[in-house]
Subunit: 202 residues, 2 copies
């Protein structure tokens, strides 16, 4: 819906910026803008500040590629975690889901995406060179592929499996307890714990 | 879902700020944050800037109470609009819906809310004194009540009707062509045009 009334420029700009958020259409964007301006100006200020501070202060962990304020994130620097197993996930949300299953005490690598040739996302875009460097630290004995069980996640797992096995690394994939076609983020923690235990070599 | 992994502070703050948006739960907030940081940093910057500029530059129109950068908004200063009819709406979104029906050429007043005694929103909170001052400009002959057809919108319309009629102003309400219990923003423009034509005195 195009607003037929002349909207002031800052309001228009705010609505357009909110529309860029995933899952937000023009109607929700407009509601959000009105809500912030009319009922939650402190919330608007807080969001503005949170965005710029996140952009300024967050970077990718040199080891796992997840978001962190430090050179190395808290998970990667935790001496209690087993450095011989590396679990590869697509996103930090997937990492959180694995972690919440309480079935895993190894380390992680976050791809921040998946192979999607149609969108022009290949091994270079996902920086597989960084992943290989990470895997070659002399401590990693096994890699668990925990990409999503979608077409693209499976492709990514298959590609990584070949790549890593050719370098003599043991590779496993989460067991197919995870319902096919689903995204890890939406699977319950119990199923994930089970899939971790039942993981099979590829 | 509480993230079981230690999340860096700026990421946590960003997720919490996004959660304050209407209709956004913790899971969507996390997705939005990851999306902005990983795939749309320009979008994040743009949103941050849009929020602070909207907070800085927008104010309420001295005549209609809508959002504007000027003292008086473009709609209120438009000499082609009929100053003898004033349409009272709850929000700018409702105003847009009325406007998109192309059935109205008068002016508007935006309440920026509705009477909601349970939430502590009464005539004082909605600044009905400003509304009365606006109506007393010597030009307004008729007020059209276009609050929502919800319980609170009806209460607001009823209250305003008594208040305005006691001051000798002709008051009408949108015809009940608008489905009862619904919000104007979600009604099609044709129904609204019809309801405007069929409006009845209260
Ligand atoms: Zn890390
Ligand atoms: Zn105005």
């Amino acid at each position: 819906m195009e607003a037929p009334l002349p909207e002031p420029e800052p309001l228009k700009a705010l609505i357009e910026s909110l529309r860029r958020l995933p899952g937000v259409g023009v109607r929700s964007a407009r509601r959000m803008a009105y809500h912030l301006l009319q009922h939650d100006q402190p919330g608007a200020e807080q969001l503005s500040r949170a965005l710029s501070s996140a952009l300024r202060d967050l970077r990718h962990c040199a080891r796992c590629n997840g978001f962190t304020e430090e050179e190395i994130c808290a998970t990667c620097s935790n001496p209690k975690r087993d450095p011989s197993i590396l679990c590869i996930v697509e996103t930090p949300a997937d990492q959180n889901m694995i972690e919440s299953s309480h079935g895993y005490r190894g380390l992680y690598y976050v791809l921040m995406g998946r192979l999607a040739p149609l969108e022009g996302i290949g091994p270079d875009e996902l920086r597989f060179d960084r992943l290989l460097k990470r895997v070659d630290d002399g401590l990693v004995k096994e890699v668990i592929l925990a990409t999503n069980f979608t077409a693209e996640g499976e492709t990514t797992a298959h590609y990584l499996s070949e790549l890593l096995q050719s370098r003599g690394i043991a590779v496993s994939r989460l067991a197919r307890g995870v319902p096919a076609g689903s995204e890890l983020e939406y699977v319950d923690a119990g199923t994930i714990a089970w899939a971790l235990m039942e993981r099979r070599s590829t």
